[in-house]
Symmetry: C2
Subunit: 402 residues, 2 copies
């Protein structure tokens, strides 16, 4: 008998038929004698409808507190419907809003962070042998106002409950059946992984694998919550995410593409101390994450600095550098959005120096030029022209995984 | 400078345009320096959509707790949208759910009664000069579960806040511009009343005038909250409801029709002591309200008892009497749903004995047969064939009010 936390996304409960499908998955585990706590997102169409309504009132986007009030109604609807379906199938169930389930957050409406989960109410309901359905994505701040956790927040809600209750496993149901060595829609030879470490998963999530939300993996790592990514449509084991996993014969765990990237070049910079500091300090003030940085060797008395930022921050980054014009001597700032980042991830690579050369060889064989390179202990990323991204993923993937 | 509580129903906030219309009404009073607390119902279509979703999951109707969880999302949406509109127009505002506004109720999900309103949060927001938007129809029970107040609950929410905060007036906005001496769609000569007493309003509400919810008028009377019924579409004074009002030259305040009525006859009852008790005790156990009762003078050793019940309870009433067959000796029970009740209401009539005869004369002149009669200090009701109901209302109305 285990305590299992399950999380279902908006598309898994999009209509009555899917709600009953989810209800049956839950009941199956409950009937085996397990305690089951379920976190649900808002139905896909509900969230869209609510955003439409808000835009009708204020197209410029209004108070984030009121937007949280509005959007959190979405999970309220889905938890009630899922509870009704489980009840209809004859099993004891209760739905709980974020605050009823004990979620305390900070006051950053729209992107709130969970401070604490007081799981007393959930424990009491479980003690009565109720299946407990919890609204994901939402909590309450110290002023008793409803907050939402931002993108992927329901994953984080599920992990937070699992951590608070020391659950045996936290199962994240998605529309794919696990974590793959590459995007299976793009790479036909992609293989499903039985298991992966938190760190590998974090690199893959950051790199655009889009299976699990980053914050949820970070939290799972911090509290040592075993995650399982699995399909809500097929009844079979998914991919386990945990601290250490046995390395299989392949050196790398996956290949990921990230298209949300742009390069910025500051050309003809006067080569004096502190220029790099000025640039990156300014970007940090605007909360822009800089990833790969490349600094040219100085010619005459100038140099160039090129770096990558998320594509959505590109224009802001250029503006903020231009605002330094008075204190920074340079020729021009250019923005290039036609790039993509391709990365290989695997905890095994740090003890295998051949990984980088094998990756570069695969790209060379495919005729793809590398513009920038970045490495960490468990990943190697290259920046290439966006048009070759899918081709690069296939070439690199097939070089390592067969 | 006054404290004003305003209540807007679902049709008043049905779309973005109407939400802004309501926002402007609120702002107008706020700009005069008043403190304004607003109670809103769910948007008409939202409630319908939510009920459709619930029926899709469980057509038999499921747990009332979960239905309350579902439906209360409706007001959550409307308060957020109204707050966004007021904010967009440049005024400080905050929306509060029932529990945030301090509504404690009993645990009768779907028909909960308000036990207490702790208005501390509302007072704090008003002290900051915020316009406060409160979700009507909902509260929280002692288990921290969301409850709903049932039909017309938002009126009751508004009066409860007004009572708790000793507001100067509680304005109930509707799609009519006040309380009329009869239904203006049926009686062209109907006149709008400037004012009416709580008791008169209660009789009119009970009798199907459908302007104000009964519980809200009872609560207003109990806590002496001055009500105003007015239109959300036209900017003009409505009808004031309070303890005593000056009687105008007409003796009566209004004429109302109630079509939700059926008569039940228990025919050929053995005339022994206790038979009436048995019948009405049984009906009380089933929570069926009996209105007019007529007992025939006994012939041989039997008598007939005829009484009226709400049409919706008719079949249940017949069944529950039939369940007494063993202990009650009677020939048959009949149900007649083709009746209607027409009533005149007016605090002035108790000192004017001519009212009843004037009413009966008007009906006689119109060729309408009276089947049963019931009187109280401030009303006279007659039961007639349903097909003559509108004709009867016009005839009686024109006899008294011109």
């Amino acid at each position: 008998m285990s305590l299992i936390v399950k999380k279902f996304g908006g598309s898994s409960v999009a209509n009555a038929e899917r709600v009953f499908n989810v209800a049956k998955i839950i009941i199956e585990d409950y009937k085996k004698g397990n305690d089951v706590v379920v976190v649900v997102s808002a139905q896909g169409d509900t969230t869209d409808d609510l955003i439409d309504k808000a835009n009708e009132i204020n197209p410029d986007g209004g108070s984030k507190r009121e937007l949280d009030m509005l959007l959190s109604a979405g999970e309220q609807i889905s938890i009630a419907l899922l509870a009704m379906a489980i009840e209809k199938l004859g099993f004891p169930v209760i739905s709980l809003l974020g605050w009823q389930a004990g979620f305390s957050t900070d006051s950053n409406h729209g992107i709130a962070r969970i401070k604490n989960v007081n799981s007393e109410r959930i424990r009491n309901e479980i003690a009565k042998r109720n299946i407990v359905i919890v609204a994901g994505f939402q909590g309450l701040n110290k002023y008793d106002d409803i907050t939402t956790l931002g993108r992927g927040g329901s994953d984080t809600s599920a992990v937070a409950i699992a951590a608070s209750m020391k659950a045996d496993v936290c199962q994240i149901y998605t529309d794919v059946d696990g974590v793959y060595t590459a995007d299976p829609r793009k790479v036909p030879t992609a293989k499903k992984l039985d298991s992966i470490t938190y760190d590998e998963m974090l690199e893959l999530a950051t790199l655009g694998a889009q299976v699990l939300n980053n914050r949820s993996v970070e939290m799972a790592k911090k509290y040592n919550v075993e995650l399982e990514v699995l399909s809500s449509l097929e009844n079979k084991p998914g991919t386990i995410v945990k601290e250490t996993v046995k390395m299989e014969k392949t050196l790398i765990r996956g290949v990921a593409k990230d298209s949300n990237v742009a390069t910025i070049s500051v050309v003809g910079l006067q080569d004096t101390p502190g220029v790099a500091f000025k640039i990156f300090n300014k970007l940090a003030q605007h909360k822009i994450n800089v990833d790969i940085i490349l600094q040219s060797v100085g010619r005459d008395s100038t140099k160039d600095i090129t770096f990558t930022v998320p594509k959505s921050d590109g224009k802001t980054a250029v503006q903020s550098i231009n605002s330094l014009k008075d204190s920074l001597n340079y020729k021009e700032v250019t923005l290039d959005e036609s790039v993509a980042k391709v990365s290989v991830v695997g905890a095994g690579m740090e003890s295998h120096p051949g990984v980088a050369s094998k990756m570069f060889e695969a790209l060379y064989d495919a005729g793809i030029n590398i513009r920038m390179i970045s490495t960490s202990e468990i990943k190697i990323s290259v920046l290439i022209d966006a048009e070759y991204a899918d081709k690069a993923v296939r070439a690199v993937h097939d070089a390592f995984i067969s």
